[in-house]
Structures are given as C-alpha cells and as structure tokens.
C-alpha cells in the first residue's frame, strides 16, 4: 500500500483520527463520528484492516475496531495527528 492511498483519502484519514482519539469503537459510531455513511466506513475499514493498520474483535453481532498499535506506521500516523493538532 502506497502512503498516498491513505493520506489522499479524507474518509480513511478521518477514521484513523477517530480511532486515534477514542481507542476502540464499533462501526456505526465510527461512521457517525467520521461523518461517513455506514457502507463507506465499512469499506474504508476493510481496506485499512487488509493493510494491517486496524484490527477488529467480534463480540456477538458487534465488531469493535481499533488501531493496530504494533504497526510502526500507526505510531507514525498518530504522531502526525498529534503534531498537526499542536500547531
């Protein structure tokens, strides 16, 4: 995955930002907070998960997503958000 595939997508960036801020969240709430519709959010999450940036756990009918903290790219993205917010 090329970095521009994430950085050029407003939706994916918003989702990463929401997860960076909140931690763990289910899909409807992610969509709501990121201002996306459910399908778009689900597609973005599928993409991000297939590239190892997020992961999910399933509890019954609910899937809870979170950033994959072990991935160094996640740490870099979080740092980017942090620096951006500060300036």
């Amino acid at each position: 995955m090329a970095v521009e595939e994430v950085l050029s997508s407003k939706g994916k960036l918003r989702i990463l930002k929401v997860l960076a801020e909140v931690g763990r969240l289910h899909i409807s709430e992610i969509a709501k907070r990121a201002g996306l519709n459910h399908t778009t959010a689900a597609n973005h999450l599928e993409f991000l998960e297939s590239h190892g940036l997020v992961s999910h756990k399933r509890f019954g009918r609910i899937r809870i997503y979170q950033l994959n903290e072990k991935d160094p790219r996640v740490a870099a993205i979080k740092k980017l958000f942090e620096v951006w917010e500060r300036t």
Partner: protein, 397 residues
Amino acid sequence: MFSYYTVFKDETKLDINYIPSRLLHRLNELNLLNQFFSFVLRFPGKMSQRVLVSGKVGTGKTVLTQFFGMQLVREAEKRNINVHYVHVNCRECRGNMLHVLQRVLQRFYPNFPVRGYSLEELLQTLTSVLDEENAYVVLTLDELEYLVEKAGSDPIYQLTRLQETRPPNSPHRISLICILRQLEILKKLDESTRSTLQHNIIRLKEYSKSQLEDILNDRVSLAFKPNTVLPDAVSLVAELAEAEKGNARFAIELLWRAGKYADANGLSLVTPECVRMAMASVYSTVRKTDIASLSLHEKLFLLGIAKAFKQSEKAYISMGEAEETYRAVCEEFGEKPRRHTQLWEYLKKLSILGAVATRKGSTGARGRTTVISMPWIPAAQLEKELYNFLNKEEASG
C-alpha cells in the same frame, strides 16, 4: 471581583459520593466482605460469589462496598490480576438490567452499543469481552429494589446463573454484591432466584450517636477549616441524625447545610444555631437528586400529592384525592393525565424513594383504598422544589 469568608476548606469531602480514605465503624463488615471475596485474589476464576448487603438509609451500604471495591482492585493490581469493581445504581438504570450490563460493558468499551440486544445476547457479549480481556468483575447492584420491582426474577436469575450457560471449566468472571434496604423485597423473587442470592448476608446496623460523631468529626477535619465547627454543633448533628434512624448520609448533609448557613450569615463558626437553622430547611430522606431522577409525570404526581397535603392540612390523603390534585396539576402544565394503573406504579416508586408512605385504608365500595402520608417532608417546601424542577424542564424543553 468580591471575596467572602467561608468556613469550608473542601466541600467535596461532604459530597454524598465521596469515598473517605478511612472507613469508620464498618471494619467488621469490611472484613467479612474481604473474606467472602478472598478467592478473587487467591484463585481467580475458580469460583464466583454472591453477597447481600442490607441496611436502612444512611447506614453505610454504598460507602462500605465502594471502599471494599477500591481496596480489592488495588490489591489485585499488585498481583497482576485484572479485577474490576463496577458499582451500578439500579435506580439510575431505571430498574433495567440491560442498562446495568451496559454500564459494565462500557467499563471496557466506552461506546459499546446495547440497543436491540436481548438480555441473553448481552450477557453472552459481556462474558466474551471478559474472556477476551481476561478480566474479573465484582458487580455491585445498589438499590436492588428497583430491579426487583421493575424486572422481577428473570434478569437476576440469568445473571446469577450465568456460569451454567458457559462451557465446562470456563473461568467464573462475574461476582455479585446486591445492596438493598430491606430483605423483605426478596420475597417478590421466585424461590430459585432467591436461593441463589441469600447465602451470604451482611446486615448493617444503624449508627449510634457516638459513631455518628466519629464520622462527622472525620469529615469536619477534611471539609472545614481548622476550629470552625463547634463540638456542640457536631454533637447536635449526631443527635438529630441518630433520631433519623442513625442515618449518616443525613448527618453529613446536615453538617454541610449548617456550614452553608454559617457562610450565608457571615459567621466564622458553625454553631448549634446554624445546625438548627439547617435542620428547619432539610428534608431528610428525599434528596434533590432523587427528585431530579423522577420522570415528568412522576414529578407532577408528587406535586399533586404535595398540593393535596398543603391544601388540606391533613396527615393522610386517599389515592383518589391524590389523583384529583394530580389532574389539576396536569391541567396547569398542559399535560394529559396518566391513568390510575400508571399512577399506582408512580406511587410505589415514590414510596420506595421515601417521598411518601402508604398503607392500606378502610374497605371502600370497590375494595380497600390506599392511604398516603408524607411524614418526612414539609409539603410547601416540596411543592416549591418541584415547581423549580418543572419550570426548568418546561423552559428547556
């Protein structure tokens, strides 16, 4: 900018939700709880426990369990055991087990959705979350009466028998502490549910005057500036609270109020006279938070009852009289009155809350009527308080 003198150093230490760092006069009960739950630290997951704590208002049920919970979690952390103490008030959850479980789940996933779930599903979800986190929960159901009244046996039964629905040898994840004022309410549960609950009971006695004085002195040192509260004032508060069935919550609230009177009158000392002034304005068992938690029509009904008492100067009114003034209040606020059966439910709730007392009256033409009294609250004061709440609600919405 203006400044004024205050007798307080830290008012939050008199807040009803404050958990003191020392628990006075409940050490035996605390030891009992520690013994009941020692397995949590020694053999986590090997068993679960159910304990009942009962006692009148202000006998330290909530503070005892919260204090125990804090200690337990601290000790578990030292041993690297993932134990969570979750204290849920069933009244705040409107007697709904789904809301109770939501509170527990939200400890782990703050935004966990619960809408559209059945109780079974939610319980299963909770256990899988706890398995995933390898966590153990001691769940305290405070004011269990509300759950029993609203939901009956089934949800409590399902919660207490949760382990039986899990695969053999699964770790026990949830233990329960149930808090209630009177054990009699458990008669409303079916026998099997009752038997799962009633193994370990801790009964809290009313505090004596000297115990109340100790508790008050402890709070005085935390909440007030040095030498601002006269010993006689503390003694008087303790005496009044002892007469209120050893109610420590009442004592602490009265002490706070007395401090407020001292401040309002520009006094540098809290005197017995401040206590007397505070006492005149206190309505003991019903707190503002209790009133705030009532629904619109529950407030309107209570206002109707207060008005009936104010107008009649009688000690008792009938359900019919209460309904009549309630209908007048509804007209005043442009609300459609609820029907008799619903009002019955409201009356039960208000009675549990301690806002009114009820008893069966004489036999009327259509069965026995219910007689309502309001022994603890001045009707005019309650009426004023309710108008404040209702007018605010009307303005906001």
